[in-house]
């Protein structure tokens, strides 16, 4: 659970990132910034902020904000019903994002993860995204990502988003956010 005070503080920081990137939001959008702590209650370490612009049966677009060093935990998007699962492209707009996907593990990763959660990060194929760089993740592919020291803003272009179907490696995680 995220307290209203923590939510409000982080929301303000997120709006500053968008402003730095010259990303304009409507008043309504500014009020509905999502702050996801995945039920872990350690938002600045393990968490993610975002605004969803559109999410129809076919298309979804979001802008994500990561605070400095913040990590979005490892997960995948499985097939659901008739759909092969969510396909998503991450395009870095600001800062640096370290993205990890299935594949050959990098020898000296550029990031570290919390010691007590180490076993919940199992894929270490490292992709570094700087502003203007992007990477596409096809369904059923384990992935996680972490921002560099400046934080990061990332555009996500994808098929329909159904967060409730995401499968996280960490069994302690609840995807759907609960704000006090």
């Amino acid at each position: 659970m995220i307290s209203r005070t923590v939510y409000e503080n982080i929301r303000k920081e997120v709006l500053e990132y968008f402003s730095k990137c010259n990303i304009k939001l409507t008043k309504e959008e500014k009020e509905k910034i999502e702050v996801a702590d995945f039920g872990l209650n350690r938002i600045r370490e393990l968490g993610l902020q975002l605004i969803e612009y559109i999410n129809t049966d076919r298309v979804c677009a979001k802008d994500l904000v990561l605070l400095p060093g913040q990590t979005c935990p490892e997960h995948l998007h499985p097939p659901v019903g008739d759909s092969p699962g969510k396909e998503e492209t991450f395009r870095c707009r600001y800062g640096t994002v370290y993205l990890y996907v299935s594949g050959p593990a990098v020898e000296n990763p550029k990031t570290t993860v919390p010691d007590d959660k180490k076993e919940t990060f199992t894929v270490w194929n490292e992709i570094v995204l700087n502003p203007g760089e992007q990477y596409t993740i096809f369904p059923n592919t384990l992935h996680w990502f972490q921002a560099g020291s400046e934080g990061a803003v990332v555009s996500e272009f994808s098929t329909k988003s159904t967060d409730e179907n995401d499968i996280f490696t960490d069994p302690d995680i609840e995807r759907l956010p609960i704000v006090e």
Copy 2:
């Protein structure tokens, strides 16, 4: 056909718009800005510039640039094979976009179209998009749009883009661009 000189001049203007919006492109992307004159050879009146970030079988994302007063001609995205047709969301990032779709015609439209092409603009349901505002166009819906006096930058989030299937009202139009 667009001459190499016209292409290069417009490409430079487009890069200035992206720079104004703090939109970062890679070196390769800067080289492959698309300038579409629809075969009409009146690019600053009837045309569109864009960079395509991703276009898979399921998802497409582009950033569009419109020069001051430039108009993207009326067209629709029909069903193709098993697909219901392209669905697209336009999100204004900079400037003002006047978007027209099927529906009740506005009495005093905020734009004018070239006199000799008037009959090729048949839908006049007016939607005005300022930065942060967006609109979703479902398949098989006639639409066209024009930038205000500052020009405009517009993000497009959509299903797969297959320009060659677009149906334009103006029979003189060829969608696929030809650069000298």
